[in-house]
Symmetry: C2
Subunit: 117 residues, 2 copies
DNA sequence: TGCATATCTGCAAAAACATGCAATCTTGAA
DNA sequence: TTCAAGATTGCATGTTTTTGCAGATATGCA
C-alpha cells in the first residue's frame, strides 16, 4: 500500500478510536490523573462493563495503560498528544457555540487570567 | 442532555466524519485549493460516485462547500481548523514511524529550513 | 435537438460498531 | 476457605457505515 494511504489509514484508525462520546469523556477524565474503572463508571454514569470495554479498545491501541493496585485497575494515558487533540476539539465546539473563534477564546482567557481584577 | 455530554457527542460526530482514510486524503487535497470531483477521484484513485458521496457527507456537516463552474463542481474547505487537525495527525503518525517526537520534527524542520547549508 | 461529460442519487449487500447482560476471573478480608 | 467487591470476557442483537453499481440530472457543445 502506498505510503500516503497507509498514513491516512492509521490516522483514521486513531480518529475512529476517539470518535465515541464515552471514549472522549474517558480520555478527558484521565487527562491529569489515573483512575480506576469504578470511579470512571460513576463519573460518566455508565455500567462498569461498558467502561471496561472502552478501555480495552483504547488499551489495544496503546492509548492507555493499566496498572493494578489490589483489586483496582488503574488506567492512565500513554499518548498525551491525543488527549490534546480532544481538548482542542472541545474548545472548538464550545467556541462554535458562543460564536467565538479559538483566537478570541485564547485572548479572553489571557485577559481573565491576569491579576488586575 | 447535560452539557459535557452534548459537547462530547458533537465532537465525536466530527471525529467520525474525518475518521475515514478517503475523507482524510480528500481534505488533505483541498487544503490549499479548490478541486473538482473528477480530479479528486483521479488523484485518490477512487470511483467518482464514491468521492461524490464522501463530499456529500462533508457538505452536510459544512466541512466543505461547493461552487459550480460550468459542468464542474468545485469543492473547498470551510473549516480550516479541522484540516489543521488532520495535518497535525499526519505529522503525529509520521513522527511515530521515525521514532521522533513532534517537537523533534519541528526543530529538525527549523534546522533544515535555515539558510546555512 | 442530441450526445458526451461531469456529477449526483438511490438502494441493496456487506462490514463494522455499539449495547446489554450473564458468566467468569481475581483479589482482599472475614 | 468462603464471600463480596472490582473488573473482564463472551455473545447475541440491533444500529450505522461502507461499498458497488445502476440509473437519473444537469450542462456545454456540435
Amino acid at each position: 500500500m502506498p505510503n500516503r494511504e497507509m498514513v491516512a489509514k492509521e490516522l483514521s484508525d486513531i480518529f475512529k478510536l476517539i470518535a465515541h462520546p464515552d471514549r472522549i469523556r474517558l480520555i478527558e477524565e484521565l487527562r491529569f490523573e489515573e483512575k480506576d474503572v469504578n470511579s470512571l463508571a460513576q463519573i460518566l454514569n455508565l455500567p462498569a462493563p461498558r467502561v471496561s470495554q472502552h478501555l480495552a479498545l483504547l488499551r489495544a491501541s496503546r492509548l492507555v495503560e493499566e496498572r493494578r493496585d489490589g483489586r483496582h485497575h488503574l488506567y492512565h494515558l500513554t499518548q498525551p498528544e491525543i488527549a490534546g487533540w480532544i481538548i482542542e476539539g472541545i474548545d472548538f465546539i464550545e467556541g462554535r457555540h458562543t460564536g467565538l473563534t479559538k483566537t478570541q477564546i485564547k485572548s479572553a482567557r489571557k485577559h481573565w487570567s491576569t491579576a488586575h481584577h
